[in-house]
């Protein structure tokens, strides 16, 4: 009897463990499969201010067709956009040029022609429509000093997508 009870408990434990593993495998599969809830982001274009004289603040609009940064987002549903924005562009030799972003320097454009502007300094929630695509444009402003050293200055801009998977 004791032995039987112990065996029954052991089978029960194995069955429960199997159920747990099956559930784990199911949800892992659900998360890994392209069910329409996966998201991806691709860099399409860099943010390029071009040749700027010292002392002249220069803006790039997020609607600029050649100089604004562009990301393509693919997926479905609500997506939280979070930018990691540098506050300066740096030269290899050490000097830097201040870089600033304003409330209208972010732009989301959908394939159907709809667009919104947003402040890239704060996270923004957008919804990817039935097309499964949206384009994130980023402008900005450089503010070189009057004695800014000539040369090329660079920085990386990271766009992070958070998709709740709801």
């Amino acid at each position: 009897m004791r032995a039987s009870t112990a065996r029954g408990r052991a089978w029960g434990a194995v069955g429960g463990l199997a159920t747990a593993l099956a559930a784990l495998a199911f949800f892992h599969t659900a998360a890994a499969q392209p069910t329409g809830e996966t998201v991806a982001v691709f860099p399409l274009r860099n943010l390029t201010f071009g040749l700027v004289p010292p002392g002249l603040p220069t803006q790039v609009s997020p609607t600029d067709g050649s100089r604004s940064a562009v990301f393509e987002v693919r997926g479905r549903g609500a997506v939280l956009l979070v930018f990691e924005l540098p506050d300066a562009l740096a030269a290899s030799a050490g000097p830097s040029v201040p870089l600033a972003f304003g409330p209208d320097h972010g732009r989301v454009a959908w394939p159907n022609g709809r667009e919104i502007f947003f402040d890239p300094r704060t996270p923004v929630l957008v919804t990817i429509g039935p097309s499964g695509r949206a384009y994130i444009h980023l402008g900005g402003e450089v503010r070189p000093g009057p004695r800014q050293l000539p040369g090329q200055y660079n920085a990386a801009i990271v766009l992070r997508l958070l998709h709740p998977g709801t």
Binding site: F27, T48, F49, R147, P150
Partner: protein
Amino acid sequence: MRRTVWALGLAALALPVALRAQTATATVNASVTIAPTIAATTTSDLSFGTIPYGGGATLDVTGTAGNGQTFGVVKIDYNANVSVAVASANGGDLKNGTNSIAVTYACGYSTNPSNTTGGASSSVACNALPNLTTTAGTAATSYLKIGGSIASGANTQKPFGTYTDVLTVTVSYVP
């Protein structure tokens, strides 16, 4: 044992929330090129002087101008590396109406602003000038000296008169 299994079961149920929340990242580059200060000022025109019929002329930018001759001189101010290009409007000829005399232009850089003393350390073809270099932000000045040569006999069977060309000097920032 049963508690352990339940604990695993709860962990498995809680896990999907973490797995289904996805993140994705992409990176672009932001760049700006700060322009240098560049100025090019013509301080002297190039003159080979008067050439006798059947004769020639030479203006060596490493030497001294002859009687009645002057170097072409362009003062170049810069605070970053620059390239210098010289273009002839007549494709390397001096012209007087439809008549032309071939010239071989030669150029060099000098620290001497004189239009009769070349002072260049070397003479090169004007389409093969090396870049002028300086530490970024450090102001510098160089004088482009333009001379050259007209071969002996190049003016035979040419009507007398003044033959001219226009040389355009372009100074460009080298990032």
